[in-house]
Symmetry: D3
Subunit: 288 residues, 6 copies
């Protein structure tokens, strides 16, 4: 199993409090938790632990605990395994204690966040482990769940991966359609350089060695080698060495990742980390 990444900086609550609140409202609806409200007596207390039922990389504990905290600030927590660590099956990730009613009412919302984020971190960790021997990095894409981009990109970091653009506004990626619109890649790059600031990097997507040659000649910061054969990829990587960061994309799976990494490419770009990684099975075990 790969080591945990050096350090995962915890997200500022401002980044996730809004989406957690909206998710609580989505689950509680107009009338709230009618089952628990009918059954729990006002004084009833609960203590318990959030447990990983399957082994995996942990991500999103703060986000999950925020669900409990937003229903009742008096619930107390003890984190047992920091984000970015690996849990074995059955391991407790956090303990919590407080009124039974808000704990039960926030449970599903908290676990929905945690399972998804641990799932992404675990899938990322696994593919990172495969390509680590080659010194290759794994990056995610903009194919994230609508509304959850910031926390899903955080989960990728917790899995040992790295982040590509957070949106359309923080870096330039010139794709096929942009090249067509401009008439040529060189014209596209010229237009971009006339518009964006000096702190913005430029990457060009290329499908062929010829396109790569043009892109390197234009001095772009990075090249996205899309759907290339392993041979072309290896050749492209050699061409780009010292001239641009190289990134491979296009249907890379855990099975093919090692072969792609062996071409020497700097980065593997993998969309399914965020759009199709299965959730990790996590649960809340309570003593009432």
């Amino acid at each position: 199993m790969p080591e945990a990444p050096e350090r995962i900086t915890r997200l500022l609550p401002l980044i996730y409090e809004g989406i957690v609140r909206r998710s609580l409202e989505e689950d509680l609806g107009r009338a709230g938790d009618i089952t628990t409200d009918a059954i729990a007596t006002p004084g009833a207390l609960a203590s318990g632990s959030i447990v990983a039922r399957a082994p995996g990389r942990i991500a999103g504990l703060d986000v999950a605990l925020s669900a409990f905290r937003q229903l009742d600030p008096a619930i107390s927590f003890e984190i047992r395994l920091e984000d970015g660590s690996d849990a074995v099956a059955g391991q407790a990730l956090a303990l919590l204690e407080g009124q039974a009613r808000p704990i039960l009412s926030a449970e599903r919302t908290a676990l929905n966040f945690l399972g998804r984020l641990c799932g992404i971190a675990t899938s990322t960790r696994d593919v990172v482990a495969v390509v680590a021997p080659y010194g290759t990095k794994v990056v995610c894409t903009r194919k994230t769940t609508p509304g959850l981009r910031a926390i899903e990109k955080y989960a990728v970091r917790a899995g040992g991966g790295s982040n590509h653009r957070f949106g359309l506004d923080d870096a330039v990626l010139i794709k096929d359609n942009h090249r067509v619109l401009a008439g040529s890649l060189s014209e596209a790059v010229r237009r971009v350089r006339g518009c964006v600031g000096h702190m913005v990097k430029i990457e060009a997507e290329v499908d062929t060695i010829a396109q790569l040659e043009e892109a390197l000649g234009l001095g772009v910061d990075a090249v996205l080698l899309d759907n290339m054969s392993l041979e072309d990829l290896a050749r492209g990587v050699r061409m780009a060495r010292g001239r641009a960061i190289t990134e491979a994309s296009g249907g890379i799976t855990p099975e093919t990742a090692a072969a792609v990494a062996a071409t020497g490419v700097d980065l593997l770009s993998i969309g399914w980390l965020t759009h199709s990684a299965p959730s990790l099975d996590v649960s809340l075990d309570l003593s009432l």
Copy 2:
């Protein structure tokens, strides 16, 4: 392949416009699509089609098209395959035409919604096909993506599945923890009946035949048979016949679904339809 469900009622835009807008804002950030803004000339037009790259059940076209519409109300659309239909690989789902710039800027947001919803519909369709011969229904759970519950439950319907509770407030589900809090299932049911209105159904989760016996004696509307062996399940279904709706849950997979359905249970409750179904590969093919 199973037939498409009788009729999928389109969602009112009010249900999804807000989350689509927030997702556009999430992707466009503060500065917008800096690549396209630099490259596309004001008059540049585009036409193209949204295409399924893999075979699957379609769900969420209106949601996806709303992303384009919210950036530019002048983009025109033609839907070629209604939600609830099955696409073959390469099939066009919708055509669109308009200014190139908003089309390119909304593309990823639109596809992120569509891929996820088609993925859920497709996974649902596949398991529905497996259990259809037994007359069993497939239902989803509250293990949905935070913020997307309404549209994910819609995707389950498009896949031929049925919906369990939409939240904590529209039906009662008495789980283990509730039973413990109340002291007994009968006390839990008594408390619930003292609180909730006459239009609210009550379901009780039971783990054993003894618990099932108690639940049936209390006249609940439905029983959730959780993690039971196939033998117990079959026995429980016979006991409950004519007295309560029966629902099986607990780690049901496409592989085990047929065996569970063969017990005669009314419903299979499957969480992974919404928390772990892989996205369907969809793309936007443009002519510029």
Copy 3:
């Protein structure tokens, strides 16, 4: 005076904090409480009590106190009479103490909520008392104040009443127009059963004994006997016994409620509890 209901579960703050905040913003506008801001010195303290000026059933104290708390979390409270209890004229419901300025600035917003919710609870209590001897329940409708449905339905419970649907999405009610659209009640019920999940109850509105007969034959969960004569109502109730819950609606007033209840109907549905109940006179008596 009827007894207080068994137990009123307090609302989660998440349910009402948003509407209370919007109401404070509505009253404070852009410039805030210009009278109090000009007059109150920074150190000025106040203590006082929220008082019922007229006798009534209490509901909404937490909602009202939230207005003070949102302006100044340091204000302290002591609740003297729980929601669901009956106050005599002049009785103190809660004591509060803190800075004079936020207390004065939140006063009207707090009282606007409290007066309305106590008014609903009081009207509900009074009609509940009238029909209690017959074992009949009183239920409210969707004719609630826009924006306040969750807390008004709570006030009905505090008054000893029960809640009908919270919205269009948590239960099915087939009305005249739906029957016309479907062609017949049986077709309407068939369509509904093909669409909604297993945890959703179905009620049919019927205007005549013939329609009731049809509805009962279809196995709906409840029937809404709308604007029937007392004779037809009594006859309908007998027909429905053991087959469906019966609910009477249509212009029921405190004066006519007993006669309607005497027909043996299970529930009286009364819209004016939420759309026309007069506020209870409540005030804040301060010592400065």
Copy 4:
């Protein structure tokens, strides 16, 4: 019956669109109108009229129609009786035509607004008629429904009444508590004049003739004569003539309004117009 007011300026949609949208979301919840969605076929059309079932003053048609428009901009409307006019029982206020589904789904939200606003306008109209012979105006207070102040104050105008402050920030009203905080009314007025701008009017609440004398000496713009006997009121009005606007408040009912107006006071301030006026019975009669 009094004449309709000279002209009721229609509210800008910006004022009410937000609260109407929130109310639609409140009623539609997560799943939407499950009854209508199951039953209405896509092409089904409806036309119909919004009808007053009881006689009353009309207010809020634009607000109500906005509910339909927000669900489906293609619904067409024809207003038959402008806000500020009087309807007889059974009179059509507006005609509408469009898809059956959004019309049925918006019906209750639209009527909830309309019934409440017409109710306020009608109650206002009736008390205005009582005091009109005395040249007295009727004004509402800040005892409005949380979230609905702007539209309820509009309904008062439609009823022929006038508006007092819209919030705590648009005029100064020095009440008892403010006087106590400042030590004296003159000190309170001094502090206010040191703080507020030149476009802000100042009113002082007075309980006794002595207080009135002090207030008039301070040159306030208006005096609120609170809970005074008719004798004191008449005396106070004579004292204030030409020096300040006079406003009577405190438990004024339709029965006592004429006697209070006969004292010559300029304005009657009546809280129940907005907090306790019963809704007008309005309905939507459809042809499907």
Copy 5:
């Protein structure tokens, strides 16, 4: 230098918390402060002071500190110079202490608010000092920064100025276009008096002595003498004495303010206080 105004009442947090939060979100974006997050270790502490780098009138400390508080409620503060006081260059306005990370991440947002509000207060103070010998007041206009009106008007008060209307709804100002629409000023005033409540003041803009004469004859509360020569202004002020508040407007600068004030006009209305006042240079000096 003029004395600080008698007392500046601190704004309720409800007035500014929302805009501060939106501004933090604007600066932190999706990914947060990536520089500080990478560099600051979890335990790193910081203490420091907010310092005025140039002399000026202080306004907005609470607003600025709210930025830190919203990122981390555990940061502690000590205010050293209250709003409404004058700082010399280099003077500490507030001390703060806490985790280094949230302090660094909130710094720019906090200073952006503080610099702007102190800039407005300082410019206001300076022009107030110029006209104070004439007993003239300085008022701001509605030419404020979009979204910041309430706090910019507060800064004007902290600078010793006074506030004109906060919006279009709290007082009447009849401008040229309104006069044209009505046909005459007298008709405009008549229409206004038929619509607005008794607590609303009426001001008329006049460009000529003849218009002023008409306005005074109509008994308006205030007259806005727009772009008049000093001679006409002086003549107008004499005409209006005892009949209406006089306000001069139109390109008044610090250089011309004394001459305008010398005409005896009651108020100078100066738009550039809020739309063009330069920021005060403020900084955060930290010890790490």
Copy 6:
């Protein structure tokens, strides 16, 4: 006067519609434009032009026109001078025509946006003209108006300037405090490289030639030469040539800009463009 920049891409409405709507709500308050509502008759029409009263660079016309459009979608517009062009005094920027009432009610909000954005664009244009002979670019900072960053950065582009970071999350800027926290610049850079993605540029602030040497040795993308003497700046620029982008900051004014540019530095970073540029005088001239 410098030429207009090559092409200013218009902002997507999604970027500014929210802040324009909030500003309209800020100005209209609860009651709306009470002056215009009282005076304008329903059918009254208006046509007119938005005019620059002083010469300047135009920016923000779409933003300003959105204010009118949001009050009344039926108002028609004709833009006469595109953003990024220079207006002479008195020149019409746009014509508009429609109902008088919404035009008058949106006027101030529209002009508040336009005046501010044109002011920024004009100040930027003027300093760009000064440094253009040296091939130096002008960039803005994060010292923008809270809530308006995206549109103010757009105005800088319209003035011929370029944009630095849009927030804390789209590029790394290592300042003094970060260096202190890390212990050294090299450690700070190491930590950053371990955290951020490959599309993020890194800039280091340096105060001395020694620090610059260290930064260049670390291979950062850009160096911010802060408050250096002209001599040190010139020396630093020579050292950095071909190794990093150079940016000068610290109290640069229009007067000193040429001398700083003459050092050969690539960029001048100027905060006052957004925090202290005076508004351009713009007005709406109407025919009613």
